[in-house]
Symmetry: C2
Subunit: 335 residues, 2 copies
């Protein structure tokens, strides 16, 4: 499991639009208390509205890492960003990145990290191996967010649910399985980056034995209905042994994102298939509700859609952004 | 895809029992024409009954690789084996191993390979990356062996089926997904060693577009009912897009091997679950029969068991070792 050194200085490079800085905004939203400030290069037109601190100033205020909070085109780092990140390493900050290109592929950065005695951490890549899953039932409770497709709110839903549970005084931990989730949480496993044989084993490692009434809220990945990533989804489901799942869905999608020949499944079919697969490692698995990304719907259409879904599926329905996840938390805790 | 240089010299080290040399016996059985001889150290009490050739003699007769045909306890190489393999590298042979420990972790061997200008090939490990699966339907036909568990005949069944098809004059290729299969075939992908995100993508790569009446016979891995490896199995199923599956089963097993809490599924349930999952990338998928490892049954019990299965499931049933795979090949080719 990767563990990051908080608090963070968020690095924006010289990006020109907010979408490219999506990761930085996510970190500001979800781990505000772990962020000391932001830093950017001349020409950057995006700001998070946080204190502007140089790496040296941030280090002086106790920052542990500088986080590359942007996703530049091509997934690599422009040379002038490498120079700036090298200065941060020299100042004693770990450098954290979720880009495809590994930080260790830049000699300038490797040398600076050696001088500064800091780590270069690529959260997209898996830095260690895991054992095969044991299938052994673990103590504590687990909920996994699953989806009809990728990229429709599984991370957001899990984060919102963990926060909601904690507010209710329930012991809960968000368990990150993707790069942004790992940055937010400060730890986790990029589950799609582990060796195929050890997907379920890594998922077991991510969510160890815990107190009987503690909830691990596990960030889902991929979709059982995705022609490229279903293997990851199934291994994560089996290793997580969830007591409950929340199905995430975006009603504006008709086909799997970027796979126009693959239809989004019927919701009842999706629930049934996830439960059937999940019973292998937890026969008591149940679906506690749906998390809908309803950004494409008007208020009236959304209300009507939620009424219809609730009637058809007999399950609580919510949009975490629009109305929060109270109904999901309540369903999870219902005896 | 890994490609090995044939023909092989099979190396037996100084093993004392046949079971440890299982890989060498498998290679002798399945790619006899690609083997020039065997080589062993003083103290070895196992022989394959092949010509005994030193690495230098084998190289002179055109051998391309020396293959470590044994699985020593602990999965690593004893020092005196390393010395012998280094001599083979010096003599101009590629060194091929399926062990956990990488050949490149032995400096003596790396230096010899450099001197001999040969390759050190660890077929258990994946040496390259693959893209995400596209889900695009490929030309040609495909059959995948699947199982109720691991290690019950999926490789053997696929090899026997590919051989049977070729004897009938049908264009067919065995597609290897595990280490021994790769050694036999001379190429393939250790599918459980690829990065999780690319399981299905690697499976697509393994079995590219082909002539409309060509059959790829793909070696299955793991089992959908295995708590550790189902993710690999599902990704391989999706990427293979099989037109047909053969279900492999061992009636002597009641639970998943080494997982006593996980029962072997009912056969009809297993067939239904594989077909349901496989329909995602090939809606026309069908099960053409069962391949039974019946070594635990008497002739009479086996005949009775096969009669019962055929009646219950309405599918051809065979044991590839006992009676061959004629019924499977016939079912595959039936219009």
């Amino acid at each position: 499991m990767q563990r990051l050194r908080k608090p963070y200085l968020l690095f924006l490079g010289d990006v020109k639009d907010k979408l490219t800085a999506k990761t930085a905004f996510g970190l500001k939203d979800w781990c505000f208390d772990d962020v000391v400030g932001e830093w950017s290069l001349p020409g950057c037109s995006v700001t998070l509205g946080l204190a502007r601190l140089s790496p040296r100033e941030a280090a002086a205020r106790g920052a542990g890492s500088i986080v590359v909070g942007i996703a530049p085109t091509g997934g690599t780092l422009p040379p002038h960003w490498v120079t700036e990140l090298s200065k941060a390493a020299d100042a004693g900050l770990d450098v954290v990145s979720g880009l495809h290109t590994r930080l260790t592929s830049f000699p300038e950065l490797v040398q600076a990290a050696s001088r500064g005695a800091v780590r270069l951490i690529d959260v997209r890549h898996s830095e260690r191996t895991y054992g095969a899953a044991s299938g052994r039932k673990r103590s504590g409770k687990r909920v996994l967010t699953v989806g009809t497709d990728c990229a429709l709110g599984k991370k957001y839903t899990a984060l919102a649910l963990a926060k909601n549970l904690k507010k209710r005084g329930v012991a809960a931990s968000f368990r990150a399985t993707g790069q942004t989730g790992i940055m937010i949480s400060g730890e986790g496993i990029a589950i799609d980056a582990v060796i195929a044989d050890f997907i379920a084993g890594a998922a077991e490692h991510l969510s160890p034995d815990n107190a009987p009434d503690h909830w691990d809220v596990i960030e889902g990945q991929g979709s059982l209905f995705h022609p490229a990533y279903a293997g990851v989804t199934l291994g994560l489901l089996h290793g997580s042994q969830p007591d409950a799942i929340v199905l995430c869905h975006d009603p504006s999608r008709r086909t799997i994102d970027e796979y126009p020949d693959f239809p989004i499944p019927d919701l009842q079919v999706a629930i049934d298939d996830y439960l059937r697969a999940g019973r292998l490692t937890n026969p008591a698995i149940r679906c506690v509700g749906l998390s809908i990304n309803s950004s494409s719907l008007s208020d009236a259409d959304c209300a009507e859609y939620f009424r219809r879904l609730t009637a058809e599926l007999g399950l609580p329905v919510c949009d975490p952004v629009r109305v929060g996840v109270d109904v999901l938390a309540a369903a999870l805790l219902a005896p």
